[in-house]
């Protein structure tokens, strides 16, 4: 175990962030690294619990957190990294963008501040890269099987790496021009710089994974074609169909966009690609309203501020969560509480209990948003539902509206059915314990399976589905 009394001696020290006025001028990472001794101290806070909730109910990947904390504390970096990689393919990604459910479940968090698990993970892996400990691990033997992975988000990538290491020939098909899924196109560069992805993709290529980008399965090539040429197919296309808003003016007015279109365009710009002027979505000099109070909305906020928005308002229909963990979600549950991203420190305004009623236009372009406050009341069916509060109507200037209200499962079902897979009435694919759908040899993982979720969950599904594929292939003569 790390130091038995470490948690009494050291306080939690989250990493510092670059000053706001500096960071909003560029697209580079926000968090700053710790010195090594800090890291060892922070790892020493781990209590090596008899029942480690971080690992058991926190981290979806089941990262063996207490063990690597101990090794970090003892300066056995390489062994720690090996252990970390044994459950997590891309710690440099989760170390940056994971909301760290492990920390929410950390036992120390029950009556103190949790261990800075995510940060330790990140430092550990970055040290590995610096030292050259992270090298390709090509499979020792080929299985003679070919597997196609459709989609190169975290689910597809984790699966592809696991499959290649199991000895299968793996081809990843990606509709976009570069691999990475939401990690590449979606998550802003200030949260995850893209060279980090390229570094890992190079390792995967050296391990034998081939990438076919710019190919949309279902349009450019069919599932049947893949079935004929591969022993198994893993569909990891993500949850890509955004939820739309029903409000007057939505159909006819220009200047209302889905968040993803806005974010992806910026990712392209940072990558040095040119964006056709006609299609350009820019917040520069505009009054921006982001509809949706979640992480995607926050990413839009940070991006809009960096583009030079006049001001940004983020509205959410749900009530404002409490500042601290709510009593309804006691430790070690995922807490119901107000979450603020780094973008919220950078500017803009947030409002809750807001219903958007109408987009007001001028010359075919949106210029304002009209809404009102709602109250959440129990409806007859027992569900909480919003009721408009009379006299609270308001109008705000809005010349760019970004819709960040999540993704629909129906969209997923469409893609799945298109590939011939059966779905449940709740739009989930029908899968067996190997993650295989109703068509033999076709597997599903990631957001396409469970609906929009987290990077770490997508990776977990990718790993498990890869294991399922290998198990299933072993049963085929």
């Amino acid at each position: 175990m790390a130091k038995p009394t470490g948690f009494l001696e050291f306080k939690r020290q989250p990493p510092s962030k670059r000053p706001v006025n500096e960071r909003v001028k560029d697209w580079r990472e926000i968090e700053q690294a710790w010195p090594e001794v800090k890291l060892e101290e922070q790892a020493a806070r781990c209590m090596d619990c008899g029942v480690p909730f971080c690992h058991m109910s926190g981290c979806p990947l089941k990262n063996v957190i207490p063990e690597w904390n101990d090794l970090v504390y003892r300066k056995q970096w390489r062994a720690a990294l090996e252990l970390l990689h044994s459950t997590n393919n891309f710690p440099e990604v989760t170390g940056r963008v994971c909301p760290a459910p492990c920390e929410a479940a950390c036992t120390l968090g029950a009556n103190d501040d949790p261990v800075t698990i995510r940060q330790i993970e990140l430092h550990l892996v970055e040290r590995g890269w610096r030292e050259g400990w992270i090298q390709p691990q090509p499979a020792a033997m080929s299985s003679g099987r070919k597997v196609a992975v459709v989609g190169s988000g975290p689910a597809g990538l984790a699966a592809a790496q696991q499959l290649a290491r199991a000895g299968h020939a793996v081809v990843v098909f990606e509709a976009h021009d570069r691999a990475g899924g939401v990690l590449r196109y979606g998550i802003p560069d200030f949260k995850l710089e893209k060279w980090i992805l390229d570094r890992r993709l190079n390792q995967m290529k050296a391990e034998g994974v081939s990438f076919e980008t710019g190919i949309k399965v279902g349009e450019d090539i069919s599932v049947n074609y893949l079935l004929r040429h591969f022993d198994a197919i893993l569909l990891a296309g993500g949850a890509r169909v955004p939820r739309d808003i029903q409000a007057k003016g939505r159909g006819e007015l220009k200047g209302i966009h889905f968040a993803m279109d806005f974010l992806i365009q910026q990712n392209h710009r940072v990558a040095g690609d040119t964006v056709p002027t006609a299609a350009e979505i820019s917040a520069k000099g505009k009054n921006v309203v982001v509809i949706g109070g979640g992480d995607t909305g926050a990413d839009c906020l940070g991006t809009a501020l960096r583009q030079g928005a006049l001001d940004v308002l983020q509205v959410e229909i749900l009530p404002k969560p409490p500042a601290q963990r709510d009593a309804s979600t006691p430790w070690p549950l995922w807490p119901y509480m107000l979450r603020s991203s780094s973008s919220h420190d950078e500017g803009g305004e947030r409002r809750w209990n807001i219903l958007t009623q109408e987009f007001i236009g001028k010359d075919g372009r949106v210029v304002a948003l009209r809404g009102c406050e709602v109250e959440w009341k129990k409806a007859e069916n027992g569900r909480m539902s919003p009721v408009e509060k009379p006299g609270t109507e308001f109008e705000v200037p809005a010349d760019l509206v970004l819709l960040a209200m999540g993704f629909t499962k129906e969209g997923n079902a469409k893609m799945l059915n298109g590939c011939g897979l059966a779905t449940t009435p709740a739009s989930d694919p029908v899968l067996d314990r190997n993650f295989m759908g109703s068509v033999p040899g076709v597997f599903v993982a990631g957001d396409l399976n469970r609906g929009a979720s987290l990077v770490v969950r997508a990776m977990m599904e990718g790993r498990e589905a890869a294991a399922g594929v290998t198990r299933w292939l072993a049963t085929k003569a």
Binding site: P4, T5, F7, L8, M47, C49, G50, V51, F53, T107, L108, A110, N111, D112
Partner: protein, 658 residues
């Protein structure tokens, strides 16, 4: 149907010592159990007398059950009389056959105070009870306890293992009121790994064997049966009832209701929930409430009721021992498990079948009569008006545990400080039976002209015992064995003067009494943690084994004492400092005063020359802690207590500095 409120009265929280768990956790458990009208257990290591007073909100923090473990820490007269049940811990489920150890860093000032030891000094509980080597000895201890507290029942805690039924039958014959069968899963947090993994059996097996043996031997009607060892659900309770248990004990699960998250840090003192720690910073984090425990037990009882209803029983009493209602489902047992044979558990044959399945006694306890019953009557003037009394009485070896009930009565009336020294002087002539002066209280002097049996001054808390040979004896007192084995076991105060030799294990686990004796057998001062012993003659081997506190002075003209002393934990020093000289001399003078010892007289007459033959036996850790304490000024009265007790115990007529 029997109500939840009635069912919960059968529940107990099993022994967890104050020391292994925090004060906060211990007191919360007690408050909860007292609210339920059920009982909690002090565990090993005594109880803070402040807990005997009711709180303003009506809560009581007193543990109804007081444990008597092999270490006898904190087992004072006051402790014994403030109990509804006295539980002799023969073994603990998680570590049967092993003793315990409380590392020095866990021995806080609070703990040391209630254990009557020194803060910071490691405490060792010996594996066996040094007053139980046979079932007769157990019967003697049960008798001692029943004498000292005529209101408490006495129970015996055994561990589930092969043959436990035979032991339980012995326990019943030894007149215990209840036998507790502890399963092997119990209380694993702080136990050694070897014991966690390899010792003991599940409670189901031990309980079934106990029930059957007791019935086979026609003893079931005399004794109640309790079971514990990771009971958690209503189903566990119903199974235990059907197998024959009348009462049910819980431990780990209760700690979980109070915040334990199974950190398994009990032995490191770093429990982050303030449950199993003495660290004040961590104890602040304790959030358990009596309500949590109360709720848990209500739910548990309700679940048991539901199952009981399904089985068609209206009360727990109807259900207890109805083993025929248990069956096993062969479908659950596959592979190797399919070879298991449950007949031994589920079937009852022969004589047992016609015997009762539960205890038939209605009284909470079976009382015992003792010599003291008459003494108490005779001592009314002293008891009621503190008048000085001197009685001359004959004594025989059938008179056992003389002085215990009288002492209990004194402490009940006047508290642990008892009566002023010498208020009651009892002069006996003859041969005293076992446990003379057990639980003796301040204010009583027992003077025996004759001799005395084993266990003199067991758990003595004050007073004085003097043993001298008959005036007419022709032998040399210093060469004659006049007192039995295991004297002053677990004593916390008082003084003993023996004009003659004593047997083995003299002053074993003494933590506060002073004694002068003219020679001892093997293992003297074993596991001693406090007090002072002067030996004026030969000693057996293994002197001072496991001695972590207190001081011994040995008169050793032969110069061979170091070969008979166990030097693992003690240093041998000459007697040189003023403090030592005064202390030794005073004790010798008192020895002469009370016994007329010729040997002591000779030594004092040539004090300067004889002094060189005295060896001081000083525990190494103890010495360090004492030195440290001398350097830190006393902060408050309480914190001084432990060491002061060593030197300044009660009856200070002319004994300043000791």
């Amino acid at each position: 149907m029997e109500s939840v409120e009635s069912i919960v009265k059968r529940f107990v929280v099993s022994a967890m010592s104050f020391g292994s768990i925090s004060k906060e956790a211990h007191e919360t458990v007690a408050a909860a159990m007292n609210r339920l009208g059920a009982s909690s257990n002090s565990g090993e290591g005594g109880e803070d007398p402040r807990r005997y007073k009711l709180l303003p909100n009506g809560d009581s923090l007193k543990s109804k059950v007081k444990q008597i473990a092999s270490g006898r820490f904190g087992v004072t007269t006051e402790y014994v009389i403030n109990s509804d049940e006295l539980q002799i811990k023969v073994a603990q489920g998680a570590k049967p056959g092993e003793g315990g150890q409380l590392p020095g860093h866990k021995v806080s000032e609070d703990i040391a105070r209630v254990r009557h030891t020194t803060p910071g000094v490691t405490l060792i509980s010996p594996p066996p009870h040094h007053d139980i080597y046979s079932i007769e000895d157990l019967a003697q201890l049960i008798y001692d306890l029943k004498c000292a507290n005529p209101k408490a029942r006495v129970s015996v805690k055994l561990v589930s293992e092969v043959g436990v039924g035979t032991i339980a039958s012995g326990v019943a014959k030894a007149k215990a009121d209840m036998v507790l069968i502890a399963g092997h899963d119990g209380g694993t947090g702080a136990s050694p790994l070897t014991a966690i993994k390899h010792a003991g059996l599940p409670w189901e097996l031990g309980l079934a064997e106990t029930q059957q043996s007791l019935r086979q031997n026609g003893l079931r009607d005399r004794i109640r049966v309790q079971v514990d060892g990771q009971l958690r659900t209503g189903r566990d309770l119903v199974t235990a009832a059907l197998l024959g248990a009348e009462e049910y004990g819980f431990a780990t699960v209760i700690l979980v209701t109070l915040g334990c998250t199974m950190m398994r840090k009990c032995h490191l003192n770093t429990c982050p929930f303030g449950v199993a720690t003495q660290d004040p910073r961590l104890r602040e984090r304790f959030t358990g409430q009596p309500e949590h425990v109360v709720n848990f037990f209500h739910f548990l009882a309700q679940e048991a009721r539901e199952l009981m209803a399904q089985l068609g029983f209206r009360t727990f009493d109807e259900m207890i021992g109805q083993t025929a209602r248990l069956a096993y489902n062969p479908a659950d047992f596959t592979g190797k498990a399919a070879m298991l044979d449950f007949k031994g558990i589920l079937e009852v044959n022969g004589r047992a079948a016609s015997q009762p399945v539960t205890c038939q006694r209605t009284a909470w306890r079976e009382g015992v009569e003792c010599f003291d019953d008459k003494l108490i009557a005779k001592c009314a003037p002293a008891l009621e008006r503190k008048e000085k009394q001197v009685l001359d009485l004959p004594i025989r070896n059938v008179h056992r545990t003389v002085g215990a009930r009288l002492s209990g009565e004194i402490v009940r009336r006047y508290g642990p400080k008892g009566l002023p020294a010498g208020t009651i002087q009892l002069n006996f002539t003859g041969s005293a039976g076992q446990s003379l002066g057990a639980f003796l209280a301040p204010g009583v002097t027992l003077h025996i002209e004759g001799d005395a049996n084993d266990y003199i001054g067991k758990s003595m808390s004050g007073g004085r015992i003097i043993i001298v040979p008959p005036a007419a004896a022709t032998f040399t007192a210093a060469d004659n064995v006049i007192a039995g084995n295991v004297i002053l076991y677990g004593a916390t105060g008082g003084e003993v003067y023996i004009n003659g030799l004593a047997g083995e294990r003299f002053a074993v686990r003494n933590s506060g009494a002073r004694a002068v004796v003219e020679g001892v057998g093997d293992h003297a001062c074993e596991y001693m943690t406090g007090g002072c012993v002067v030996v004026l003659g030969p000693t057996g081997s293994n002197f001072a084994a496991g001695m972590s506190g207190g001081i011994a002075y040995v008169y050793d003209p032969t110069g061979f004492f170091d070969t008979r002393c166990n030097l693992d934990m003690v240093d041998l020093e000459p007697v040189r400092t003023d403090e030592d000289l005064t202390r030794l001399r005073t004790l010798l003078e008192r020895h002469i005063k009370f016994t007329g010892s010729a040997k002591a007289q000779q030594i004092l007459e040539q004090w300067e020359s004889q002094l060189a033959f005295f060896v001081k036996v000083m525990p190494i850790d103890y010495k360090l802690v004492l030195e440290r304490m001398k350097q830190t000024p006393h902060r408050e009265d309480e914190t001084v207590s432990a060491t002061e007790e060593v030197y300044n115990d009660g009856e200070a007529d002319g004994l300043s500095g000791i």
